[in-house]
Symmetry: C2
Subunit: 428 residues, 2 copies
């Protein structure tokens, strides 16, 4: 057996505590599997005195994560503090400069600074790994980077924010509106300190941007993603979609096209009977499509102490076993700039309109759609008591730009009583 | 860039041809991702003249795979011939003895000789890898060995034989009996030369035995598996199970208990609405349960040129990148003997009985179950025209041994018109 692998862990929240527990509980198992003892030299967190339910007395304490990152008795710096900049980035940079390997669960930091950090690590001959940053316990970074390494990846998609999926499934199951369920989620502590990270699709977008980099060999380009959160999803849309055989999910899709990289994180309708449609509560699902393998679907817990700590440990064990793979599956300096392409791929759309209750209103809307080259697959007009008549349309495949033009033209007809709701349908 | 990684491929059937195609089509991509050129030095197969739709003119030809395995210009011997013994085993042993790494898709060989081969490879400091041997394109060996390396694995289960799943779903969809669909599958070329390997559960059992080894750190022990094929599954059972909300699947389950390793591959009922219940045709699904990660579900094509070649390439790329992990996730010499334990875990059972159409028959059966401590969850008696009354029972949790006792006792009552059918229900 070779020398122990010594960790320095910065951040002792849920995930950090989970990692400590695994290392304490399973030390023998980890050593047998990796051929090395896995030890913790030092830890760092905001509060030294808080009771975390684990014994930290055997580890040195550092108030400053940068100091922790530079310690001589640390081989791997494990960054579990979070935050795009600030101490997480400073300590990660310090660790790399000091010649340490780094493991992080910090998707925000990587989505913004991942390129620079990966280049720095690779210049130093060190590893920067982030299995825990995407889809919690699902080993999706490994599946994509290594398991599908012989494939040209054609498409990556998935539901990667458990909180959003919880809110959407809870709305559906209980028939509650968005604000009510948002309040519930907040009370349960399910939301980030800045809830926009979750419900605005930013957290899930960060994850998709990282997957896209690996999949397509492109520099992380979060800024180029089309991003739309779930804040505007109404209980009406959830119920009407269900009535037409769909579920609404915050779905990320990334694919390389002749025009560049299409990537979007937005609410979509998926068939209720599909694996994505049946995904409930905080579970995550990622679908990887490759030219040889076809479609691989991975499902598991997207967050939580155990699952996320399991992902961190996957990286720890890889490094303990001597595995060395470039952060994004190829040298960071070889990643190409991703030309961002607006989603031009045609898709069916769900369209909910409120029409004035006058003869000819529906005909006008149908004419506008026809003029824009958009044909109607299914349409339903619901009984109503208000002066506004709710109309649901599922279109045949159309481009988003054609649909946007049609919606603008509808506005000009004077028959709309409210802004139309248009949601893409993904027949995964 | 370091020196090229040179393959020798023995076996140019579907999978071997698929590997050649990937290496020819994606040479640049593979080199960028792994940092090395991946080349083929030599190939071997039964027929040199057969047209496989790929250009083999750039590779040396060896009639004898053992010769191929020993060539100086081969770094990795890729064994895709199949067969438990014979040339596959001889060539694999020769490759290891010659200091080559070995990649194989041969579950039969590994299920029987895996322990000896892994020990031999590890003694030589070489790798023996087999991602393609289990569940086709799904990177399940990697997920289990590496992705969940920080977990104590509690249970591994799955549907791992696409042919059986095709037969069962086809029976259900078309309402056809087993013999008819078996004939169809044979005509379509879906079955192994010896169909018992598929429909007898042996192929799937081999795969489960390999997963169990990694999961529990035990020597491969295929002989200890409880094995039951799908040959006796009748269309009646499929239809009655469906009527009660279930699907019948050839399901493998392995778990470590206080009494030893429980592993069985047998037809089971699973809820129709569960991910396993919805698995159609030749698709595979593996569920991994770990103490930290909870439940991870992996789904994908279990066979076919592209998916299986993708799995072979995963191993090739790992070796190209310098990854070195023990065959079963820990040194083969550290694997422990698995004490085989008969499945003692209680489960609900589906029971189909044919009763004489006389007063009191049902009461007698119910009394026998009650005496055996087995309580009835649901029961249905169907209308009938024959002298035999079909009765379906879903029991509450019971052990297999208690159920077997009850069935024996039923036999003694004289009210049965046929041997009862009992199938375990897994509420995954």
């Amino acid at each position: 057996m070779t020398s122990p692998l010594r960790l320095g862990i910065a951040g002792l929240g849920t995930v950090g505590t989970g990692v400590v527990k695994i290392i304490q509980t399973h030390s023998e198992m980890l050593a047998v599997r990796s051929g090395r003892d896995i030890t913790i030299s030092a830890v760092s967190a905001r509060s030294k005195t808080r009771d975390r339910g684990v014994d930290l007395s055997g580890y040195a304490w550092e108030d400053d994560p940068v100091q922790l990152a530079q310690r001589d008795d640390v081989d791997i710096f494990v960054e579990l503090m979070g935050g795009e900049d600030g101490p997480a980035k400073a300590a990660t940079e310090a660790a790399i400069a000091a010649g340490k390997d780094v493991i992080t669960a910090n998707k925000a930091m990587l989505a913004v600074h991942g390129q620079a950090l990966a280049e720095a690590a690779e210049d130093m001959g060190r590893a920067l790994r982030f299995e825990a940053a995407v889809a919690g316990g699902i080993p999706v970074i490994k599946a994509l980077t290594e398991g599908l390494a012989g494939n040209e990846i054609t498409r990556v998609l998935g539901v990667m924010n458990g909180t959003c999926n919880y809110i959407l499934t809870r709305m559906q199951d209980a028939g509650l509106d968005y604000q009510t369920v948002f309040g519930e989620a907040e009370a349960l502590g399910y939301l980030e300190a800045d809830p926009t990270l979750d419900v605005g699709g930013i957290d899930a977008g960060h994850k998709l941007a990282l997957l896209a980099s690996i999949a397509f060999g492109t520099k992380v380009n979060f800024a180029a993603m089309e991003l739309e959160g779930i804040e505007k999803i109404s209980i009406e849309d959830i119920e009407q979609a269900a009535d037409m055989g769909y579920r609404i999910k915050l779905l990320g899709v990334a694919q390389m096209t002749g025009r560049g990289l299409e990537s979007r994180m937005s609410p979509c309708l998926v068939p209720a009977s599909s694996p994505l449609g049946q995904l409930e509560n905080a579970t995550n699902m990622v679908v990887l499509q490759g030219d040889a393998v076809g479609q691989i679907v991975l499902r598991g817990a997207g967050a939580g102490e155990g699952p996320t700590a399991s992902a961190v440990m996957s990286d720890v064990m890889d490094l303990a076993r001597g595995t060395r793979i470039a952060t994004f599956g190829r040298p960071a300096k070889d990643l190409i700039d991703a030309r961002a392409a607006q989603s031009a791929a045609a898709a069916p759309f769900y369209l909910r309109l409120g029409l004035t209750d006058k003869p000819g209103a529906l005909a006008k809307v149908a004419a506008v759609l026809g003029d824009a080259g958009i044909s109607i697959d299914r349409m339903r007009q619901y009984g109503h008591s208000e002066p506004s008549a709710p109309v649901l349309i599922v279109t045949h495949k159309a481009t988003r730009s054609a649909l946007d033009e049609a919606i603008t033209a509808m506005d000009g007809t004077g028959v709309l009583t409210a802004a139309p709701v248009a949601i893409r349908i993904e027949e995964v």
